[in-house]
Amino acid sequence: MSTNTTEQRRAEIAAKKARLAEIKRRNQERQQSLSIQRRSTELNEVTAPLPRSYADRRSLEDLVNVLIGDRPSSTGPGAMKSSRSNSVMSGADSNFSDSASPTIMSPGVAMTPDSTPTPNQLNLQHMSIAPLTITYDAPPSPVREVVTYSKEVQTSEAWTGPDDEEGDDGFESRSRRTDEELREQIRKEIEEELRELHADEQQQNGNSGLDSNGGFFARELTDEERAAITASEDFVDFIERSSKVVERALDMEYDVLADYGLGMNAEDEEQSGRKIKEIAQFYDERWSKKRMISDINYSPKFPELLLASYTKNPSAPHDPDGLVLVWNMHMHDRPEYVFHAQSDVLTARFSPFHPNLIVGGAYSGQVLLWDTRAKSQPVLKTPLTGSGHTHPVYSVSVIGTQNANNILSCSTDGVVCGWTVDMLAQPQELLELITPPPSKTDDLSPTCMAFPHSDPTYFLVGTEEGTIYPCHRYDRAGAKAGVEPRISYKGHAGPVMSVDFHPVRGPVDLGDLVLSSSVDWSVKLWKARPPAATTSSASGSPQIATPILEFSREDVVYDAAWSPVKPGMFGLVDGAGQLEIWDITVDTEVPVAKAQPSSRVGATHLTKGLNKLAWEEHDGKRVAVGGLDGTVTVFEVAIDPPRNEEWASVKRLVSRAELGNNSIIAAGK
């Protein structure tokens, strides 16, 4: 038991010593002269193999002599003595390395006459016998015995003579005690050593700092070196990342050091009276030039990101035809991401369930999927075969829940496809929409599609002829998949450009309100009948629903969308390049605000038209518009926080309008 623990301790001590020796060696290598007060044995072990100044060695040897002189006086008979004295040294050495160098001893012998005290000298003569017996050079056989003994010897301070002759008990207790002292001592030494090492390093650093400017040297690189670095992937990667960071940093308009006590900017006050304020324009000479914007969508996850999809640039046949740029509000003249497509991209949106994914529809009929973690090519796309769309895809939606969602796409030949996000090789569901009787042709060409927020199995399509049809994705009781034949929403005299369900976010459910825009210069408000209601009222003759409100405009209306926060508010963009903000709780005849994007130099009125509009969904204060000139313009809309009455007021307005319409219809009959 006790031997075990002592063995352990011994091992620990040996390890510590080894570390210490390592540190010292490094020190030596640096040729820093260390003035260390240490115990003789230690010094011997460590410094013997290495050259030292003679003065040091001398003082050392004195210490050795003193120590060695002490020892034999306390030990017993001469023969034992000599063997022990050897083992003391060799044992000490063997703690370090098995090769005990005789040089340790020889200086001791040589020094013998030098040492002054007489008893020491006498004892040293005993010592000098030891090397003659040659046990010193003897291989490890005696080492085992010796090692245990060496502890006793090493603790020379505690070694006060008479104790030596005691029994085993005394030996053990002493060895334990001295063990602890020893450890303490070694710890101290190591600490001291480390401290000195640090000091050394600091000193060295200081020195080299003086020499070489803190390690910095502005060496002129040769052209080859420079070229090699510039061509390396690391470098390209670094530039790509860091230039974005810098541009964002530079474009950040807010001055963190602004001192509002120092006087006000008059311009701001003048602007604050306006309802809409232009806050950013996105245009990239390289990518946006001569392209038209076909769609805009805000990232549902990052309110500062928005995407715009573009048609082809006819004057750049080598550039990809289709393009999706992701713009950052904090980086104005360069897109955050550039995504390519082989054909004009007609629609694109962020997946609401995965912030990295962007889904797009192309003129070629392909549905494309890009990933912001990948390069600019789409990570997935549908094949150009008959299995999916063969006509342009003007509308895509991602429908479902976080864990189960599908991409729904709709092309102008009336085909609606459902895709899984993981696999675009083949549609999961395929639906062919046919105009229900009584119409002259079967063809139905949808231009836009919208899903209600409450029901993923049913949707509305706006068509080129102007009618809006409800459709079922699946067969259900009393209704087959496809266009619902019993009801249609007729009112527009020209192609429908957009259909938008009211976002349900308030105390009153307005999710059945639908806004549609058309090239017939109008926006219409509809109340969509839930599919269940239409089935119950199925009496044979198809119903025709009429709009409950109409907003006539002075130009072709290309897009209209509900505000995500204000129940009565929506925005529209028209062919004259106007953005209008309406609030039906305020006025149903005139918009509450109007604005026009500031045009770039060289823009003609032919390129003024605006195609698309998108609200930022988080606080509904920003609206982005884009059109023929390829510029995305972001406006800030000054809105009061929505009040609860507004929801009720919209509801009242709708029911009043419905009544009015009904009475008109009744009067007409």
């Binding site: 690391d234 470098f235 530039i239």
Partner: protein, 114 residues
């Protein structure tokens, strides 16, 4: 289909850097090698001065030392942590420094007059 490997050509790289250096407020732009501190690229008004060579070298040295000590500070607080961006505002300009394991990008630019 363009290659999916190294995504930028030399030209595009140059134009990326040119975009930054051509911004109105930007005075100059330096790219340093992280380990040696040698200048890989530099451009802008400081570089165009008569004493440009030495001046740029001097600036580079100062920035390099600054980044180093900032790194030490960050490392000292948490060795798992890394330095990502340094913005140094002075009365006259701002330095935007993007450190990276291998390179350092430094942009000197005028601050909006406050």
């Amino acid at each position: 289909m363009s290659s999916l490997g190294p995504s930028l050509t030399e030209d595009e790289l140059t134009s990326l850097l040119a975009r930054i250096s051509q911004k109105q407020s930007v005075q100059s732009l330096i790219i340093l090698d992280r380990s040696s501190g040698s200048i890989i690229r530099s451009s802008g008004s400081i570089a165009a001065n008569r004493n440009s060579e030495s001046l740029i070298g001097e600036y580079a040295g100062m920035v390099w030392k600054f980044v180093k000590s900032a790194e030490e500070m960050v490392g000292g607080m948490d060795d798992e942590d890394d330095l990502k961006l340094l913005r140094v505002r002075t009365k006259r300009h701002e330095l935007v420094i993007v450190p990276d394991p291998r390179f350092i990008l430094v942009v000197f630019h005028d601050t909006p007059t406050a």
